[in-house]
Amino acid sequence: MRRRLSPGRVVAWAYLVIVLVVTIFPFYWIVRTALSNNYAMATDPSSLVPVDFTVGAFKRALGLASPAEAAAQGGSAASIDLLSALRNSIVYAVLLTICTVFFSALAAFAFARLRWKGRNAVFAVLLTALMVPQVLTLLPNFVLIKDLGLLNSFGGMILPTAFFSAFNIFFLRQFMLGLSNEIEEAAIIDGAGPLRVCFRIVLPMSAAPIATLALLTFINTWNDYLWPLLVTNDDTVRPLTLALAVFKQSSPQAALDWAGLMAATLVAALPMLLLFVAFGRRLVNSIGFTGLK
């Protein structure tokens, strides 16, 4: 089964290796920088291993380093309240994921498994949301959240997308349409009502796509930047993405604490990397699915 090593294959492999290196190298560089001494790094900027290995940058990022210690390693005066930002990101992403997936699942069940007048018309109306990009609703939603007095609160951050996601409903409905009727009918004959059918039969049978959706929603929310930027204005609710950007923008470009910033970046990216290790296969498959709908 050994394949010939034609010139074409060599070129193809070379191309693939280059693409992989460009894809992966920045992640390595985050780790390498985060474990370096920010002062010493300037003397050897192209070193492939951490310069003057230290975990000082993580201490600074987490607010554990004393000012003297921070100054000795080239940390800047600007600090980043990473722990509260981390907490905010977790609250924001978990709350939103639970709400939007739960309510989408209920709606998807009603659209896929129940018979009622107007079902298709209502579904078509909801689907129009798939065609309108965020630009159009962003500013009016900000004004709405401001009028409701929900600026700078978790409520304001999650409310616009907590109850309704056209993509989630569409995705789950497609799956539920494909479930066989038999178990459901047996349950109905045994006297189960639609709600029992929903919670005891159809939702458990849809556990796999629900998990995939939860994963995708969590990733998107964790990485969201623009909406939190509009509706938050201090550390009490500000998520990690914003805290990082604020830290970078408030430090002077010439004396930026790159090691500290990369340590904070690593903390911000870590949950995603862990999800990737745990669910990488499911993620890759879900991308394939969304493409082939």
Partner: protein, 315 residues
Amino acid sequence: MVVTTREKTLRAATTAPPPKKKRRSAAHRNDAPIAWLLIAPALAGFAVFFAYPTLRGLYLSFTEFHVLTEPRWIGLGNFRELFGDATFWHSLLVTIYFVTLSVVLGILVSLVTAVILHRLAVSATVRGLMILPFLISGVVTALVWSWMLDPQLGIVNVLITKLTGEPVLFFGSGGWAVPTLAGLNVWKSMGYNAVLIFAGLQTIPATIYEAGRIDGASELQMFRRLTVPLLRPILVMVVVLTVISSFQIFDIVQVTTKGGPADASKVLQMYIYDKAFGQFDFGYAATMSLALFVLLAAVTFAQLRMARADESDTN
């Protein structure tokens, strides 16, 4: 407990004839009340945070509105301002430049990558690694690349300086800013698109390639004559998705260049944000949002039309 009692009353109220005798799925006939109950949250979310803001956005684009005071109707005033606004047209061009670079470069690299992944039968782990950049936020992408491209200490510029003696100001020079941002955009989405295209490739039966090989076609010929035409639907989708997301690019621009230097990378979404939250000119910002939306709709529609016309050609 609460759910079960509620469930019982609901069932009692809705299933008038006991369902025992009915042995058909027609037992679902009286589902309407429960169905409306189940979709109520989604409907409310749709009405309050989608339909209403969309209509309000349309209305605001005809007003002068500075958030703290009531909107004042000024008819087509904002649209007139739009046509004479040089910065708007400039940022429109910048956006189109950015989108074009992102689409051409992004599709080319991800298509070639997907085909190579497929033809070399590389393991799924490699495909998994490819989507890593898709998982991290635009902010993290922007931060790590502004570090790697830093003029003094960034690894890329250290290497460039060794070769040419002079660093490249990737974010700091007018000529480089947009291509660099497009590069970041491509880096972030390339793996995701490659996996999408890869999924499409898997649906092409291997026998087609065997037939091609028997007819003496080279790899390149098969790529052009078999792979690309058969992949057309999925390629169109990837292009449309890339166009839509690139037109609305914001986070990587805001974190790196903030639209600079001297507006060189001021994409539309950046300008809208500046107008709304820098100058509190919400009415005008709403008008520009509407313009961006109309533009997006037109481009998407044109792409889908073109794709369909081509499809009938090849089949």
